[in-house]
Amino acid sequence: MPDDWDDAATTTPAERQASEALIVDVDGFEGPLDLLLMLSRTQKVDLRRISIVHLADQYLAFVARAQSVRLELAADYLVMAAWLAYLKSRLLLPPDPAEEGPSAADLAAHLAFQLARLEAMREASARLMARDQLGRDVFARGQPETLTARRHVTYTATLLDLMRAYARIRTKDEFRPYVMDRDNIYTMEQALDRMRGLIGHVGQWTDLASFLPEGWGTHPMRRRSATAAHFAAVLELAKRGQVDLRQSATFAPIHLRARSPE
């Protein structure tokens, strides 16, 4: 950082003009602090020795110019303008011992610090980017040899894992949602088709259970499903007037026979 503390305070009219000639283009700045940093550079002094009063003037002039050309300024630029106007007025007045809070000098020093810090980071980032960069100035091995991994995998499982797995399979079986179990389901449509083909041969009262198709009479689940389907089917046939049904008592076997055409 240049150490020209001495010719700090004042700026020449030429420099002032230069700053006023700044193109009023807020888009070029990343916020009020960035704009302040840009303006402060025209003072050509160590940022920590900058005249905040003068900087405030520069900033306020910039904002005035922007407004005179009806440039829409973001709110934070206006907030900064108001704050700088206030800071400037306090800096110009003799300090009021009754006033609370930080002194105007402290606030000004902090602003100077912020500007110096931002500038330092700008310079640091420039120096960083100027370094030799990998893939641009410096290169890694272009043909790396792959590290072949000779893997020795040991698989483990505990007895508990084994038992849990088994329990999972068995209980899944029991809890399997009913609809999934297509194998053991006999639908009413199937039963109806089947009964229509058989009904013509049933002149005698015959137990419904004897109509169950082969393979559906023993397995409990299959028997239940087939029985229900066939029962529903004969109810449908009875409704259509094709069969007669009878049952001697509750839960007694259901008998059916074909209704003779009238």
Binding site: F139, G142, Q143, R150, H152, D161, Y166, A167, D173, F175
Partner: protein
């Protein structure tokens, strides 16, 4: 940049410098570099031949060597150090869910055919799953079933019993024992409200031990 013909002066870099350049180019290149390409990338008029020879000599006996692949050049690991490029990895992994379930079914139902395993699991059993269990020597082929197709059966091995600390497959606890020991998390299947294992589950379990040889 230079007048080609005049060797020596400052136009063409000295050999030591050429050697550095060749070294860097070969190092960074993703493929072996043809000698002609190398020449093209060096300062005008420089011939890589001598630098290559010097470089090859320099790397003699080192961990990497400069080798020739047809007309092209590349650095390669010294042949005697090839073993460093392989890493021995000891890894302990849990068996996959498919594998542990298949193993459990074999253990509880042995001897059991693949089709039977699939029936019990409700999903196909991949070749790899069975192979893995065979490889682990926890499972082996049993006698063929005397049914059509004569399918092979699977049984568990001594190695299996050893690993799981069992005297025999008969010592595998049943579901009832598991539940009594509090080893089962009674988590219901998704969408199924909390249902305690019903009696049917138990009958299944008993049947399993009575019917299976």
């Amino acid at each position: 940049m230079n007048d080609a013909a005049e060797p020596g002066l400052f136009a063409v870099p000295p050999l030591a410098e050429l050697e550095r350049m060749v070294e860097a180019i070969l190092f960074a290149s993703s493929t072996p570099v043809m000698q002609a390409d190398l020449a093209a990338r060096l300062p005008h008029g420089a011939d890589p031949a001598e630098a290559l020879v010097a470089l090859q000599r320099r790397y003699q006996g080192r961990g990497v060597m400069l080798g020739r692949v047809g007309e092209a050049w590349a650095f390669r690991t010294a042949p005697d150090l090839g073993h460093l490029m392989a890493r021995e990895v000891q890894e302990t992994r849990k068996l996959s869910r498919a594998a542990i379930e298949t193993l459990a079914i074999i253990a509880y139902h042995q001897p059991v055919t693949r089709t039977e395993i699939e029936e019990i699991r409700g999903v196909a059993v991949s070749r790899g799953t069975v192979d893995q269990l065979l490889e682990l020597e926890w499972v082996r082929f049993g006698r063929r079933r005397m049914t059509p197709g004569r399918p092979v059966t699977f049984v568990v091995t001594e190695g299996f019993l050893d690993h799981f600390g069992l005297e025999s497959a008969r010592d595998l606890p049943g579901l009832k024992d598991l539940r009594a020991a509090g080893l089962l998390d009674n988590r219901p299947l998704p969408g199924v409200s909390e249902v305690p294992y019903d009696d049917e589950a138990e009958t299944t379990q008993i049947a399993l031990f009575e019917e299976d040889p």
